[in-house]
């Protein structure tokens, strides 16, 4: 991951946008397979990528989408069984498998986003283009735990007095509402004070600096243009119709000429970049030979 942590945040952002938009809208197994593979490989190598529960959830979701699709579309040529008089076709099942894979790939790349663009980088990006949005985001992320702590404090106090631990859920919801109301008063009052304090410290004056600055260097430009060139060749393949595939009545892939192959290869490289940067240290450990 260190390649992307050290780069200007625009580089991973651009990479993610290219991968995601193509994976979401190209609707071709030639795009979906590398996207899914890249995300799975990356999430398997980094810490906190997958949990057992999430894997089971993802696989169940995939199976459900694949199995349900033939119930809605009956376009295929090879019926497997008949459900309520309607054919359950092989092509529709395979379409469902592809659809599920595409959804899964997109969801997994959204998971990767958290790891590729850490919070600090995200604020830097937002702060440049939308300073108020950045301020709102960072203050909300600070307020949410604070509000939870205040709510717990009030609930504890009320429980100690003995008016809160009602087994009846209507009363419990009612006391939650009371807590919420009190929480609102407390927090709004506090917000106005915070606003006054910010103003007193010069919020909104020109010449503001950020905690971390990322200079856009030559290396960043090289990375960015490499990503753009790879994306462009994938888009070219898409625009020429080389990625097209029709599922009904029979599954027919468009003829793959050289440009299509180049486009698919370029997209595969894009998808593998996070994985490769994650195992860079391992690769160096295996292949680096001492020159002493």
């Amino acid at each position: 991951m260190d390649i992307f942590i050290r780069r200007h945040p625009l580089v991973p952002l651009c990479l993610l946008l290219s991968i995601l938009l193509l994976a979401m809208f190209a609707q071709s197994p030639r795009i979906t397979v590398p996207a899914l593979a890249g995300a799975v490989l990356f999430l398997c190598t980094v810490r906190g990528g997958f949990t057992v529960r999430s894997v089971i959830g993802f696989l169940l979701c995939w199976a459900l989408i694949a199995a349900v699709n033939p119930l809605f579309s009956t376009g295929g040529a090879t019926p497997l069984v008949f459900v309520a008089g309607r054919p359950y076709t092989r092509e529709a099942l395979l379409y469902g498998v592809h659809l599920g894979a595409m959804l899964l790939a997109v969801l997994l790349w959204f998971r990767c986003e958290r790891l590729l663009i850490p919070e600090e980088h995200r604020f830097f990006l937002f702060g440049r283009f939308a300073p108020k949005l950045a301020l709102l985001i960072s203050s909300v992320l600070r307020f949410v735990p604070l509000l939870k702590r205040r709510a717990t404090a009030m609930r504890d106090a009320q429980t100690a007095v003995g008016i809160y631990d009602d087994p009846d859920w209507i009363h419990r919801a009612g006391s939650n509402m009371t807590t919420m109301s009190a929480l609102t008063t407390w927090s709004l009052e506090h917000a106005v004070d915070t606003g006054a304090a910010m103003k007193a410290r010069g919020y909104g004056l020109p010449g503001r600096t950020t905690y971390r600055t990322y200079r856009f260097t030559g290396t960043d430009a090289a990375w960015l243009s490499a990503i753009l060139v790879l994306t462009a060749s994938a888009v070219l393949a898409l625009a020429r119709g080389g990625l097209g595939v029709s599922f009904y009545p029979n599954i027919v892939f468009a003829h793959a000429d050289t440009l299509t192959r180049i486009g698919v290869a370029a997209y595969t490289i894009l998808c593998l970049l996070p994985f490769l940067s994650a195992i860079k240290e391992e690769l160096r450990w295996c292949f680096y030979r001492s020159k002493m």
């Binding site: 190209a26 307020f143 919420m180 606003g195």
Partner: protein
């Protein structure tokens, strides 16, 4: 470069290119692409206007507290799934502070609560629907404040609107254009959750509108916040 010129180029040149170019490029999925563009492009001008306008630091902090309340509300009522105060707080904000703050709180809640509950392709649509529900409530502020029954109806409408928008996007994204049986199936599958949304919206609106509205009104009167939004 002149900032205003850049913005104009962005709005009048880049956006049409993105929408139509994308629709031509993603032939199979152009419904989904255009829907996504609409969701993003509805939010963009409002957020842009908000960025450009003078907003005091106290007003920003009030907006972020209201957003945090609705995000935290999802945790506070986590023991009743689907029962959440997000729409209610958005609507109440819009009723007392105006349409734009309502839009901001609604769309920001979607963006931020998904940092905890998981980002996905649904984020722009949640931002769009919650934002729009807030903006609309801001425009209807006077009648909504006066008549409890209208507030209830708005809560029910909000629950259904939210579900229908999300299902519309799912239908488009699953390809094969707009398939009515698929849309109907998705709506039917989501019906219990939709009803729960509608009911929880009504309950939260009825219970919270009075107390929170009073507090927001006090902010306006005592500190003079959000004067130009009314």
């Amino acid at each position: 470069m002149n900032r205003r010129l850049l913005t104009r180029i962005c709005f009048f040149v880049m956006i049409p290119i993105v929408v139509f170019g994308g629709a031509l490029l993603f032939r199979e999925q152009h419904y989904a692409w255009i829907t996504l563009c609409i969701a993003v492009l509805t939010c963009l001008p409002i957020w842009y206007d908000f960025e450009r306008r003078e907003t005091g630091s106290a007003e920003l902090m009030v907006l972020s507290v209201l957003t945090s309340l609705s995000v935290a509300g999802r945790f506070l009522f986590a023991w009743l799934p689907g029962f959440k105060p997000v729409t209610a707080i958005t609507v109440i904000t819009a009723m007392w502070l105006g349409a734009e703050p309502g839009f901001i709180v609604g769309s920001l809640t979607a963006l931020l609560s998904n940092f905890y509950f998981g980002q996905g392709p649904w984020t722009p649509f949640q931002m769009f629907s919650w934002g729009l529900l807030g903006g609309l409530a801001g425009l209807l502020a006077k009648p909504l404040r006066k008549h409890k029954i209208l507030l209830c109806l708005y809560g029910i409408f909000a629950g259904f609107f939210y579900s229908l928008v999300m299902d519309l996007w799912s239908t488009f994204w699953m390809g094969e254009g707009f398939s009515i049986p698929r849309y109907v199936a998705l709506i039917t599958a989501a019906l219990p959750i939709t009803l729960e949304y509608a009911i929880s919206n009504v309950i939260f609106l009825l219970v919270l509108a009075g107390p929170i509205g009073e507090k927001l009104d006090r902010l306006r009167v005592r500190y003079g916040l959000f004067r130009e939004h009314q």
